[in-house]
Amino acid sequence: MTDSTTTYDAIVVGGGHNGLVNAGYLAKAGLRTLVLEKNDLVGGAAITEELVPGFSFTTFSYALSLLRPEIIHELDLVEHGFLPLMMPSSFHPTGDGGYLLLGDDHGQNVQEIRRHSRHDADAYDRYHHDLDRVCQAIQPLFDNAPPNVFGKDPEDQADVAWLLDHLDGVEQKVMHDVVRLLTGSAADWLDDYFEHEAVKGFHASSSIIGSKVGPMSPGSGLVLLFHKMGEHDGHLGSWAFHKGGNGGFTQVLARAASAYGAEIRVGAQVSSVLTSEGRAVGVALEDGTELRAPVVVSALDARRTFLDLVDPRQLPGDLVENVQRTKYRGVSAKVNFALDGLPVFPALPDTVDHYGGFLNIGPTIEYVERAFDASKYGWYSERPFIDAAIQSVVDPDMAPPGKHVMSCFVQYAPYELRGSDWDTERDRFADKAQAVLESHFPGFGDLVLHREVVTPVDIERRTGLTEGNIFAGEFLAPQMYFFRPAPGWSQYRTPIDGYYQCGSGTHPGGCVIGSPGKLASKRILADLRR
């Protein structure tokens, strides 16, 4: 059946944050835009759910940093409730009962580092300055579509000239640091600055998030750099907690897109993109409904965009091959808790200051590397790395008065288990994570009112992210920039006219960044003007 009552200028498949950003820009430009979301709630992997009355869980994505600031203004998000709350501290137990606690006062942070290592006190400044310089050099690449270096037409050549000109202006040292980060390991990079194991361990944690690498693996430097590219109120590498969690943020996006006139339908699973004579003409839903639009944008990952929604036989063979060999290999899980009260860290019994931000449970590089080892052989970590946050400390509306919610991002949990499966292992795995928490916060288990376990398989089932990879494609050098999601197709178009891609699997996704949605909208609007 054809829903002939309405036709649209553009249909966005997938109401994750990039789909909503894309729809917001398209609607703002005057396009009659429809967003189709398969679940009953928009947000994709950035949702907040009240699983227990009064307790709001950030089921998947749990904090905000990479979001490009211009999107906040261009989509007028403040007007629709955008409110990133400061996470005032970072807490890193050192595994021996001690801790490293960093906050918002630079001088105090230097003394805190110095308490562990006098050597590392000035390295701390040098480290962040060098990384800031790298971010400064890379930022223009983040804010523009990757040039098509394989293209021959004048527009492509102008893009390449722009890139070369930009890189030409980058200092030699900074360029060398860029390459060291993009190709090397976080452990090697950190060794050049720090000597203390806990200080290194603290800084290494962002080098493995969402990726099947250990901090000693080449490639972990790239993951570290990517996370440093984020910012909160101008502070590079700094994270915020959005009011109501990342689901609160995607609700803001949905309101903004709606205010520009976009229509959002939930519970609407798209089964295929309709084409006619090599052009996209609309979509078909699972229930048989057909909706028409000359522009269809997939906010899904590359595998679903190219192999599920369209017939891969319509596509060039090399693209299909590249999409098929793209690495996903999710290794991340969530174990989220509703707590009856705040956990107690024995060395800091009478304060809550250490719960203002991330609790980084991965004392040393070696600890995290050993946690990684298991995943290479198809099993989860005996003692996993945990990036935790007691979000109700920052936003009291997340839990009833005096109670708390705690988000725990747990690694490593490989998508494919050898000799078992996730439905069997779910609780045993969560027990391992909880045992690690218990070892740092004695009595933790007594506080647990509810536990939610989200395995890579659950991530895939609920959000559609292939193999539960939270970035919609691993952060590996051959899968970044002009190779993201596939060589020759990094500019948000597809081989099918009128069919576009805007998901986290395109540059500069993943993370909650918004840029793929924005940059894709620029491509679409430019094409429509031709």
């Binding site: 600031p69 400061m86 918002d104 800031d132 101008g234 203002g356 009291p396």
Partner: protein, 405 residues
């Protein structure tokens, strides 16, 4: 010798920084933790307490109290009924603002007026033959501001009146066994209350509020956070936005109520015949439209701000700490021959508005909201201008601030 407030003993124990400023001879915390922005968010998204005790407090009572205040305060105090409070100004005889404060009307003939600076002599000299006493009771009371979206939740468990108090309402009640004045007032532009309590009961009341607030993550906030809050709220501060007219050297440093953005206080003034200090000059200014300045907010063009910094090889700074100095506003970029049209008195990066904002005065013809202005900033030690637009104040104005309970 520096003095301490009635809440100091307890609040100083919560202060991990040891950072204080001196506020009218009292220790006043700049911040309680390493992160003043976190304290700021207590007020914008939870609940925080601020010790505002160093304010001067004057009790004005007697059969002619209303008549007296109607003759010295700029805003018509006769419209403030018992059980209400009123934000007000007082001016010199040329219609220039001296100071501001809040007047609490406890009964027909009994008022309490707060002031940031000592003013007893000035008020007392104006009493003449009226049957009114003006008493300095500054040291007798502590005032604790309880501010933020959860402030009502915290206080209503201690005094049920919090549930029904309207914006700028006030009432006599008890917290524990201590008599207090509970008012829906504050200096943050958010939902909030102030508790005025006799010195001897101050710690008991503070303890009760902190205890009730604990499940709501109540936090004390210091002056750093207060400055951020009050700029967003469009609330001017003496010695920052203006100088007491009697202490200014030139008229450049003096402002009239209209020039301070308080024209709304003067509504109906032309039609009534209330005689008050400065009244004739103010009526003349209104009639002749002779105000030199209009008070506006300023919103900086984020894109231009970022671009200027990037071109200069700098990371765009987004600093929530207000600038300690004034900046000049031009009608066009200085590189394009811009001429001065105003000046910014307070300026910072607002976390809730996600942009640089300021409080400013501009020539009246540039005051319409959205007028383009160019703000002088120094980058790499050279002055340049960044594009901005004028805006109405308050810059941040949540519905909960004035909402009926």
């Amino acid at each position: 010798m520096i003095r301490t407030t009635p809440f100091h003993e307890r609040l100083s124990a919560l202060n991990t920084e040891g950072l204080y400023t001196h506020w009218q001879g009292h220790l006043s915390a700049l911040r309680y933790t390493h992160a003043p922005k976190h304290e700021y968010f207590a007020v914008r998204n939870g609940v925080g307490v601020f010790d505002t005790s160093p304010l001067f407090k004057y009790r004005i009572h007697g059969p002619d109290a209303e008549r007296f205040l109607a003759g010295v305060l700029t805003r018509d105090v006769r419209r403030c009924r018992p059980g209400q409070a009123q934000y007000t100004l007082w001016c010199d005889d040329r219609g220039f603002v001296m100071e501001d404060g809040v007047v609490f009307r406890h009964s027909q003939n009994d008022f309490l007026l707060t002031a940031a600076r000592p003013n007893l002599g000035w008020f007392a000299d104006l009493v003449g033959r009226l049957r009114v006493a003006v008493e300095d009771v500054s040291d007798d009371y502590g005032i604790l501001a309880v501010q933020g979206p959860r402030s009502r939740m915290v206080l209503s468990g201690l005094a049920t009146e919090a549930d029904t108090l309207p914006f700028f309402g006030q009432t006599q009640t008890k917290i524990g066994s201590a008599p207090v004045t509970l008012s829906r007032t504050g200096y943050t532009g958010d939902l909030g209350f102030e508790v005025t309590v006799e010195r001897d009961h101050a710690l008991d009341v503070l303890d009760a509020i902190l205890e009730a607030g604990r499940p709501h993550s109540i936090r004390p906030f210091g002056e750093d956070a207060l400055m951020m809050l009050r700029i967003e709220a469009g609330l001017p501060l003496v010695d920052v936005e203006w100088t007491n007219s009697r202490l200014a050297f030139t008229d450049h440093d003096r402002v009239t109520p209209s020039e301070l953005g308080m024209g709304w206080m003067l509504r109906g003034l032309a039609e009534d015949d209330r005689a008050f200090v400065g009244g004739a000059a103010i009526r003349r200014e209104l009639a002749e439209r002779s105000s030199r300045w209009a008070a506006v907010g300023v919103l900086v063009d984020w894109e231009h701000w970022d671009a200027l910094h990037r071109e200069a090889g700098l990371l765009p700074s987004k600093d929530e700490h207000p600038l300690g100095y004034e900046s000049v506003l031009h009608d066009r970029a200085t590189t394009e021959g811009g001429a001065q049209v105003g000046y910014v008195t307070s300026f910072f990066y607002s976390p809730v508005l996600q942009r640089h904002v300021g409080l400013a005065r501009v020539r009246p013809e540039h005051a319409a909201p959205g007028t383009e202005v160019h703000l002088e900033i120094a980058l790499n030690h050279a002055n340049t201008t960044v594009r901005a637009r004028t805006a109405r104040t308050p810059l941040f104005n949540p519905a909960r601030k004035t909402a009926k309970p």
